[in-house]
Symmetry: C2
């Protein structure tokens, strides 16, 4: 049966008779090939800050936006390799543009229910205790079209509000301890210096746990779209709360009930009511290769590769199915598998040339497993809020047609 | 005594009386500060492939080179955060320029002592089993001026032939098994498509162990200076053997004795003879902050941060001294500590304002510990080869003067 034998790892891996002959001819010709005689050029001039090859054109995709200053760009996950997203391709969502801030004048104010209200310059923060951790950030609304039953055509458009970087900065807890947290303080209201002064409220327990006031991303300064010179990194929680261009932290005994937590970024339920403060992103995965828009040039071996992540902990297992979900087999997980970070999974697959569905489902160390869309809709319903659905983590399927094209199901 | 109390972690961490008053005034003024009133601009236009802030100017430094096409650029380690080096700032060493190769025509030939000589296109390789791993690459000659007793003025010039990326590609062993390794094969000669066709020989055991034929770096395609579209990644071994622009792998019963393994990249000994094929880079560390060229703006808390690495395994311990090596205390190591990768270490330090030496020494899981320069010179001597010294891993010291300036010792 097609699905079953397609799941076994064949050998030799990808040699077609043609390439074997070609290679044979090559050696008969004396161990060289046309490509071996490539021009011996010295190439372009030196570059103090390097650029990618002009042959590489992978780019973020901006969904059309009716509002000036409001934009969302998606990471080209179909081109991604490994677990690090290049900073140049990290997704962004901004509601009032990308302010051009100067690190020499930008300041972070810590006030409210503290013993000592403080102002930190960026230089102050760089003297303080630092931590670097690899974490994903996912927009709460990522892949909401899957929830609606209108899947997008490729991994970038369906799941691209999602990226993973190494973040460096000061543990928020260390800053708050400097200011002295008063007993009544239950929330930390974080505000950005963007034009809309986007603000969100964090429970004090999370603020004192693993939150980072980040100035570094992937070994250099944050990129402007990521909040330069300072952003909040709130591991595992929805992207909107990772406040960018961070300039104010106010400790309070209650949440601010800001627009982005009282109206937007809430979860509508079937009874018409909305859940507030649903912060954590659930366990989820997506196959990035093969994925929508790609084309398999030939039958035979094709590695299945994808990304899995959980805002609640470590990814412990990813299963892959090539038979419409009848049978599932364990994929190999990249090492190390870090908490609240991408885990790359791979699975050896041989394509027979027949019409095939490829799906992945992830599990995390809390025991959660990625649900089917049907199971999720049964609980969450199909009544979307004004900003659409949030926190969708259903299983994603890609269809490989006999002509090798890959599309959504 | 200065050294001892300077090693204790004080609290509050960095508040000067001035900043505390300023902050107090701020709250009296109603919880805002001048910086809180930053302009509400929508900022620059959208960017499909993002750039860094114009305020960021960190750059690779090219040592003067008398030969056209021969260049070395160094990574600005003094600005580095975390363990990932941005691809744009990854060091490079090339002997015949940076060829502009096309991934659609580039091919990799595997021939010699194999059952089936093969030619792989880049598209072929992307279908094959893949692996992603974070590894450092260090030039064999990195920090050779320390060996000579002529230390450079900053971390970039002294230790900058060193970077760390997440590399993605096909395990070399999988490629060789496709071609079928003959029993007589003892070496793999790897050749690049640069103008000088730089070639190096790897023992077959290493080739079948952890070597990667890489097409990906930090989540996207390799950068041109890093061998686009294909390079060899030989974890833990000297940079020169990580053949860039890789286009040929020839299995042989003996090494090629190429120029870069028979003449260059050898280790001269006091008796005038040179050691051949000294591949692994030994355990080493360097403090990147504070480091040469930087200036401490005030006394009090300054986190000491640096990088440690070993080509033989995992970094298990980094010790820091602030009293000319009389006493050493354990630094905190970043998690996870990966084999043959950067490990970031941090240490809380309070500067009293006195003249101070800062040093670090790393140990790895083979039991090796970074030696003093004196101990290393006692064994290796001071007789350099035509290309200077290789494989220097002595302890590095930075001097903090009373005026806050930091320089080499």
């Amino acid at each position: 049966m097609d699905a079953r034998d397609s799941m076994s790892n064949p050998a030799p891996i990808l040699l077609s008779r043609r390439r074997l002959l070609a290679a044979g001819a090559v050696t008969l010709a004396g161990g060289t090939s046309a490509a071996q005689d490539a021009a011996r050029e010295l190439g372009p001039p030196r570059s103090p800050y390097g650029q990618r090859s002009p042959h590489e054109t992978s780019a973020r995709w901006f969904a059309p936006s009716p509002m000036p200053g409001s934009a969302a760009s998606r990471t080209p996950l179909q081109d991604a390799v490994g677990i690090i997203t290049p900073s140049a391709l990290h997704f962004e969502r901004h509601h009032a543009g990308v302010p051009a801030l100067s690190p020499s004048t930008h300041e972070l104010l810590v006030h409210g229910l503290v013993e000592r209200p403080l102002v930190f310059t960026v230089a102050d923060l760089r003297r303080m205790p630092s931590v670097s951790r690899i974490h994903f950030i996912e927009c709460a609304g990522n892949s909401s079209r899957e929830h609606e039953g209108r899947p997008a055509e490729d991994a970038q458009r369906s799941h691209g509000l999602l990226s993973c970087s190494e973040w460096t900065g000061v543990p928020l807890g260390a800053l708050l301890r400097e200011a002295g947290v008063r007993r009544e303080a239950a929330w930390v209201v974080a505000e950005g210096a963007d034009a809309c002064r986007l603000a969100r409220s964090l429970p004090i327990d999370k603020a004192l746990d693993d939150v980072i006031v980040a100035y570094g991303q992937n070994g250099e300064a944050l990129r402007p779209e990521q909040g330069y010179p300072l952003r909040l990194v709130v591991p595992g929680w929805e992207g909107n709360i990772h406040i960018k261009w961070l300039h104010r932290l106010q400790l309070s005994d209650q949440p601010a009930m800001s627009k982005d937590e009282a109206a937007s970024y809430t979860d509508f339920m079937p009874d018409g009511r909305a859940q507030w403060f649903t912060f954590a992103m659930d366990v989820k995965s997506v196959i990035t290769r093969p994925s929508g828009g790609q084309r398999l040039a030939a039958t035979g071996f094709h590695e299945i590769s994808g990304l899995a992540w959980s805002g609640r902990g470590r990814v412990t297992r990813v299963e892959v199915s090539a038979d419409r979900g009848s049978t599932w087999q364990d994929a190999t997980l990249s090492e190390p598998s870090l908490p609240k970070a991408f885990t790359r999974f791979t699975f050896p697959w041989a394509w027979s040339g027949r019409d095939t569905w490829l799906q992945s489902r992830a599990s995390d160390d809390t025991g959660d497993r990625q649900p089917t869309r049907e199971a999720l809709v049964a609980v969450r319903g199909l009544l979307a809020g004004p900003d659409g659905f949030n926190h969708y983590n259903g299983i994603k399927a890609w269809r490989v047609r006999p002509d090798g094209t890959v599309s959504h199901v």
